[in-house]
């Protein structure tokens, strides 16, 4: 268990009176790709947003690389960490959003070098070199100076992936990264994600793309109503799901 990158333990989260996460525990090891599936409203997006503290958890704990996320231990209580420490922790965790959230006032290249230069203090020349190779890796070597507004959805999402990778994160989170895309551009984004998974990137992927989960995931996790109800390797998971709710969900979606 030495190579655990993400460790979540009994995570609870409510929005007002609505309890969205009812005790999630999950471990992800280095190099592993874990897909989280489940019906909408099951809490998968909320959970993944808790991992980099975009949402605050109410109880339980989340650790990335052995470091408690978002909180500090004070005695036997947890208190929210300083903004600066939380920001520092986030540099370790890349996130790709459903709606890309590229910076529209910056070119593809500027989007990618923004955080290395202004957060990590990487020299600009070096950051540009890194950004060129990352944008090349996602197949956008010819779009360096293009603004997001002139890129297709699939291209924007690939820039967003490069932007997250530029921080050299030890964990990548994908929050329904293909849900907002036109059908014809979904493939190019999934291809990049598969390539990352094969290259040994540690990834947690919230997705509705069962094809991707089947092909690229090491483990599939099914969430329903704020709980993980079933998990296992994709072969087992898709061929012979044990839980009734999983069977139901898969029969609808496959």
């Amino acid at each position: 268990m030495s190579d655990v990158v993400m460790h979540a333990e009994d995570v609870h989260k409510s929005f007002g009176r609505l309890e969205v996460l009812k005790g999630i525990s999950l471990e992800v090891e280095k190099g592993e790709t874990v897909c989280i599936i489940g019906p909408s409203g099951s809490g998968k997006t909320t959970f993944i947003r808790c991992i980099n503290h975009l949402e605050k958890i109410d109880s339980g704990r989340i650790e990335v690389n052995g470091q408690l996320i978002g909180y500090r231990q004070r005695g036997d209580r947890l208190v929210e960490d300083s903004e600066r420490n939380i920001a520092r922790q986030r540099t370790q965790i890349g996130m790709v959003f459903q709606r890309f959230n590229l910076f529209p006032h910056k070119t593809a290249l500027e989007n990618v070098i923004e955080a290395p230069v202004h957060v990590l203090g990487t020299p600009k020349e070096q950051a540009i070199g890194l950004a060129r190779s990352l944008l090349g890796r996602v197949g956008l070597g010819d779009k360096l100076d293009t603004y997001p507004g002139k890129l297709s959805g699939g291209q924007q999402q690939r820039v967003a992936i490069a932007r997250a990778l530029a921080m050299g994160p030890s964990l990548m989170l994908f929050d329904e990264a293909t849900s907002a895309l036109d059908p014809e551009t979904i493939g190019e984004v999934l291809e990049v994600m598969e390539e990352l998974a094969q290259a040994g990137t540690t990834m947690i992927v919230v997705t509705h793309e069962m094809g991707f989960a089947r092909k690229a995931a090491h483990r599939v996790v099914m969430m329903d109503d704020g709980l993980i109800i079933e998990e296992g390797p994709p072969e087992h998971f898709f061929e012979e799901p044990t839980h009734e709710r999983t069977k139901q969900f898969l029969s609808k979606i496959l």
Binding site: F103, H105, A115, H118
Partner: protein, 258 residues
């Protein structure tokens, strides 16, 4: 009959095309008071807007009281109060002297302007998609860095058009500081009128105010074009922006000159 000629062409001609050095000093006073007061007003408005969005409740209240008081009272009253209630220094920068009354005027105008700018800046910040702050945080930015690098540059596109309108108003509102003894453009006209009873001095400075606001219209159109560069494909041309800035129906009206 001479008396029926309403416009004294000689005065107009002289004041508009061959003004005296004294006149240029007053023109300069109008310009620097407007620019400094507007710049400080933007800064105050930004601070008040950030305070308004603060998690710390007393800051939010403070920001609310500020806007309530300074938008709810006449700017002329504020100018008089600021000038007479405090003592202000006279500043010297080489040949250039800024009298105490001008400093009081700048202070009062900028505090007043900040109250209006707060709403404009807040609307600009609100117009930026919430996902932008999340994306900035997800790559390790703190709130302050994300504001400076990501949110405010995008908010600027929304802020600049009404800001330009505010500055247009500001150049005209500066005429009020003549009442506390600042020798600016309006004071020049008023002084000449009281000596000659030729009303055309007012007409002459109206031409100069019009000149200033027109120059500003061009500068504003240029800035807006620079800010919107390449955001999307359907951007307006310089000429279209100029027309938009020109047309009072398309500019933001706040009603009156302050």
């Amino acid at each position: 009959m001479h008396a029926l000629v309403a416009v004294d062409l000689h005065v107009i001609w002289q004041q508009v095309f061959h003004p005296h050095n004294v006149f240029f000093r007053t023109l300069w006073a109008t310009v620097y008071i407007s620019v400094v007061a507007q710049a400080a007003g933007v800064l105050l408005g930004l601070l008040a807007a950030l305070a308004r969005m603060s998690r710390f409740a007393p800051l939010r209240w403070l920001s609310g009281v500020y806007v309530w008081v300074f938008r709810g009272t006449p700017v002329l009253v504020q100018i008089f109060y600021v000038y007479f209630a405090f003592s202000w220094p006279t500043l010297h920068f080489g040949f250039w002297t800024v009298p105490d009354a001008a400093i009081a005027g700048i202070v009062a105008l900028s505090i007043n302007e900040g109250a209006y700018m707060r709403e404009i800046i807040r609307a600009g910040i609100d117009s930026v998609d919430r996902g932008q702050m999340e994306a900035a945080k997800s790559i390790g930015m703190t709130y302050g860095l994300a504001m400076r690098r990501i949110i405010l540059p995008q908010a600027a596109r929304v802020i600049v058009p009404p800001l330009g309108n505010e500055f247009n108003n500001m150049m005209k509102t500066t005429s009020l500081v003549y009442t506390i003894g600042v020798f600016e453009m309006f004071a020049f006209a008023e002084q000449n009128y009281s000596q000659t009873f030729i009303a055309d001095y007012f007409l002459a400075i109206a031409v100069w105010y019009l000149f200033l606001t027109t120059v500003w219209t061009f500068i504003q159109a240029y800035i807006e074009r620079r800010l919107s560069v390449s955001e999307r494909g359907d951007e307006l041309s310089f000429r279209e922006r100029l027309q938009a800035a020109w047309n009072p129906m398309t500019s933001w009206a706040r009603g009156g000159g302050g």
